[in-house]
Assembly symmetry: C2
């Protein structure tokens, strides 16, 4: 079942990844890109319990291996270093050694054990990391203390930074959960070309953190698609440094649900920001399926609609071509009774339990010109539901991806 978001938490305006107590972040221009920031870090004053999830791609990039090994060794992280422009993916043994060196040099620079340092990279696959630039960059960690610089440094073809923070009362303390992310291309359920980092000053035990991350990711980062491709470098990390000194949180804790709602909100908002800023996108598209036999079916049907190039181009063209939605639903291999299908675009209903209504096309177009387009699909198979997010397919998507490297 999905969570219904209530208002048990408060959004902190204009807050960044460093909002929770004890976290700092920064970013610099290391020279991997022509002029944009391209190297960033997150640092926690004390070791933080940490958890991660990683791309399902067979080809996992070297930094993911390093980070997984670090988390297996210590269950904690104190720093994360990230570069853009080069993915350090499909770079073989040398790439692995380069990622190890990034981890070790960073650990040395900030004075912690290498097992407390995570490494993340995003960019072109199959090119060796320019380690002379990376070494110079690591020596400069701490030079910037602007979290906004970190949020810029991790971007690739993103057009804007993605960050959010919320406060929630837990055990009489106000704890903060913050997040920063990058997305843009290769975004698809079961991760994305997406890096997402979340920080909190709540105290959460590591096993519960891992369990909570899996749960929130399944209903946020795994519910977005831009172009159906998964990257080799996708990773979501969460660091909980416990500096608010609350009683340790775990699923049986009376305020766990409250904490999870706030965390879920942070994850979903980051995911929606990624979808909305998909390469070339002009609109956020939200597809909701209810009345499905299982949550998996609901998500699968919704993803079939959001993943259809024909639906995406029709939305870009603000064309009420609902036949493409029907066609996408019918082609995804998830069975359902056609006579139980209802379909609306925004507030305009088109199909009611299998019957085509004489819908008013201009009303439908009114829904399509909005910044966020909602597609509602209702079935009669059961009571499960899911919401997914994506974007339209535009000239700019083609432009960006036909010339990404050149």
């Amino acid at each position: 079942m999905e969570h219904t978001l209530s208002k048990s938490f408060k959004i902190v305006e204009n807050a960044h990844i460093d909002q929770p107590k004890g976290f700092t972040a920064g970013g610099i221009h290391a020279g991997l890109r022509k002029s944009k920031l391209d190297f960033g870090w997150i640092y926690s004053e004390v070791p933080a319990n940490a958890a991660g999830i990683y791309t399902m791609n067979t080809f996992q990039a070297a930094p993911l291996e390093i980070t997984k090994e670090a988390l297996q060794a210590s269950d904690q992280l104190q720093a994360v270093v990230v570069n853009s422009a080069n993915a350090n993916s499909y770079t073989g043994e040398q790439g692995y050694q380069d990622a190890v060196q990034m981890q070790q040099l960073t650990a040395g620079k900030i004075g912690v054990d290498p097992s407390l340092v995570a490494v993340a990279s995003t960019g072109v696959i199959g090119e060796m990391m320019p380690m002379h630039l990376i070494k110079q960059a690591i020596a400069r960690i701490g030079e910037s203390e602007a979290a906004d610089d970190f949020e810029h440094a991790i971007l690739t073809t993103d057009t804007k930074t993605k960050h959010i923070a919320v406060e929630v009362e837990v055990d009489g303390k106000t704890v903060t959960i913050a997040g920063a992310a990058k997305g843009s291309g290769m975004i698809h359920p079961n991760m994305a070309t997406m890096l997402s980092f979340m920080t909190t000053d709540a105290k959460v035990d590591t096993a519960s953190l891992q369990q909570g991350l899996k749960q929130t990711a399944n209903q946020s980062f795994n519910r977005i698609t831009v172009d159906g491709d998964c990257s080799t470098n996708d990773m979501v990390l969460v660091l909980a440094n416990g500096m608010q000194q609350n009683e340790t949180l775990y699923p049986e804790h009376p305020e766990w649900e409250q904490f999870m709602q706030a965390w879920q909100f942070v994850s979903r908002e980051l995911a929606k920001m990624i979808a909305k800023d998909g390469e070339g996108a002009t609109k956020l598209v939200e597809v909701e399926v209810e009345g499905a036999a299982s949550e998996q079916d609901a998500a699968g049907l919704a993803k079939a609609v959001i993943g259809s190039s024909l639906v995406k181009t029709a939305i870009y063209g603000e064309d009420a071509n609902w036949g493409r939605i029907i066609s996408a639903l019918g082609t995804c291999g998830i069975p359902f009774d056609k006579n139980g299908l209802s379909l609306s675009i925004g507030s305009e209903q088109i199909i009611q339990e299998g019957q085509l209504l004489s819908f008013h096309e201009p009303n439908c177009v009114e829904e399509l010109v909005k910044d966020t387009v909602h597609i509602f699909i209702s079935l009669k198979e059961g009571s499960e539901k899911a919401t997914v997010w994506g974007c339209d397919l535009t000239y700019d998507y083609v432009q960006i991806n036909a010339s990404y490297r050149t």
Copy 2:
């Protein structure tokens, strides 16, 4: 196993769907489209043994139901009527009755039983068929006897007609196999927004014709993708009228393989024409996977590559961004040993058994500027292979689909 094409057949230059003995075809402007031909027919002097395959989409359009019922009733067809511009899909009981009427009026006009008439439609989903125009058109069947008109009348966003014919010696007779198709958008394995009609003057029993059609379609029409969507109207029909009086063909016949090779060639060439003329496409892309554990795995991996929007845009941009090929292979859920992977673009090898070679990028770009781009992937999982076809993703794809109806 795939067929290796030998030269046991001969291509007939500039031949059309009416090339086999006893077939005629034509097309007219019925007024469903502004000025282009939009209504066509194929006719056989005698009832032909016939077989069909249909879209896997849950929502099958009315004409497919009618055609399936006709083939179930008689195993034979003598005529096919086709309209473009309107798919007669998601049109409910009225749509079904309209398709029945198209069948009955056509049967009356040409003087055959309705069970010998197939109906096919392609175009916009969810709009009622303008039956007053269709009735006028049926009354004009026979007015044109140009197969080229038929081949034009079935097109939607296609930029050119698709037709081919070959001759093959069977049982001492020269039999002809011909085909005509339309494709363009919504093209994906397990059919396509594709109509494909094949005719032959060979005598083939119906069960063998159905079996042969399934076999050839699996290695041709089911091996192409333009945008990953399947239409509600996809259909492939074959009519064998036996007018060459050969001994009836069936799989145990000594010349069945020879006949199948010719038929397979016709199917593949039509499929490749469809892929190459995909909406907005500038290039045909051919992806071959060998050394897979099964043909299904090989086809699945190849389709993952050809279906990736990122690969397709890179090819459009003539950018040797092979990392996207790797990423697409790694994300499709079909397991393989990374150390057994070899990859070439055209004659330029990039990966040799898991090792990245220092390939020469300008050579690779030379392969990408060609009209047909070949991607070869070799694994060490087994001895099965598959080839799939697709196209690049371009500005024009977006333009065509953002404004298809308007």
